[in-house]
Amino acid sequence: MKKQFAHIVLLFSLAACTNKAAQKPVWVNETPLLSFPKDSMMFTAKGKNWEASLQTFTQPVLLKIKFTGNGFVLSSQNKYGITEGTALLTLSNKKQKFFYPLNLQNNSFGEITDKDYRSPKTVNPDSGLAQHRMLHTIDEWRNIMNTPQQLEPFYEDIIQLNSVAGTYRAQKDKALSSFYIQPGSAMAVPVNSVYNKEENVYVVTAGPLKDKHNNTVANGTIVAFIYSDDKQTYRMEAALLNGLAAVKIPPEKNKQYRLMAKINQTASQQITLQP
């Protein structure tokens, strides 16, 4: 009998050793809109087996927990902002979890970045001077912002660029925002020749070559010099440099050459090479 009684007492003691379910902590300074990472959250709770995380719209974030006499205080682990919007605060005590829905707003925008995307990046005036522009603004934590000038966060338009060839920046301090206006094709090919007595050559020069907006045609553009006498046709090529290209043609005794310079289908007037 005594033994049985002792066994019963032992059984009851074992049952008493099992853990009681934790009570849901009370959020003392509960707020529907939490300013992150500035605001801290105060809870009254029993025990010290608590872990806390903030389930943001993007990712779960572990919170720092500081135990006080009657509970604990939660705060951010670092100073970085977060994806704003709906969130869920999770308090865990071993296997139990308690949830507190809330909304998150960053305490500061951090470094705000204005984005200005242009396309095409390289504009050729032969095709036109129109460029597509897209604008929006992002805070440091990758939240899209509404700028004061516009009600909607996204803006696009088509702008007309100026016709002067060169490298430009959509945003002054950002090299990555550079875009390029190329010179276009030559409108006309002026050509002239000079006979150099010392070298006994005709120095034939094409240029200065300009596009329709008066930009100097791009360096490296190939100019073909086609010249003929009564029997044969010859061809020489030279690349443009600063709008000019030149070739030296040796004269033949008693022969006259008729010469024309061409860039693709744009041709000069015919000139006669004679000393």
């Binding site: 719209f57 779960p60 919007g85 992002i138 990758r142 996204f154």
Partner: protein, 183 residues
Amino acid sequence: MIRLLFIALIGITITLLFLQGRLNERRGEQPVFFRNDNIAEAHQAKINVSIHSLYKPDSVQLEVLKKDYSNLWAHLNHLYETNEVEAGKEYYTEDWFKQINHHYIGTLKTGIKRKDVLHELHIINWSLDGLVCTVSDSNLVFQYQYPNNSFRTSKANLQMVLLYQGNHWRIDAIRLKNETFQD
């Protein structure tokens, strides 16, 4: 004596070479075209697209966007559940990846799973070169599963900036306009 010194010298040299070889062992991350994206492959959601931009994507570009958008959400949901930042880096821009790493101190399983069921994707802007896209996703339906196996559905409205880099559209920024839970 000299023989012993000689043997010791050879032994040290061999040990050094062996250690150098071990140190040079690569971590072994496979290139992206060898990897299988199980997370994206397992993902299914209905995506309806409408276009409001000045320049419009062609049908091939649209299909690529839809596929990458679906894969992106697979990884965003995985990130939501586990805080595993590396799995989806093919679908994150560098700035987005840096931001999520600010809050990464290891994976963290809260036990809450999110599934995106339906998207109404509105293309707000599409760049002429097809490399930048801004979208609004309205009536986005989410299903949440909690650790106690309960479920909740929500409807959300959000905006996103996507950049085409490498082989994929990548998330660069987001704005959750609202999310309403349906109890």
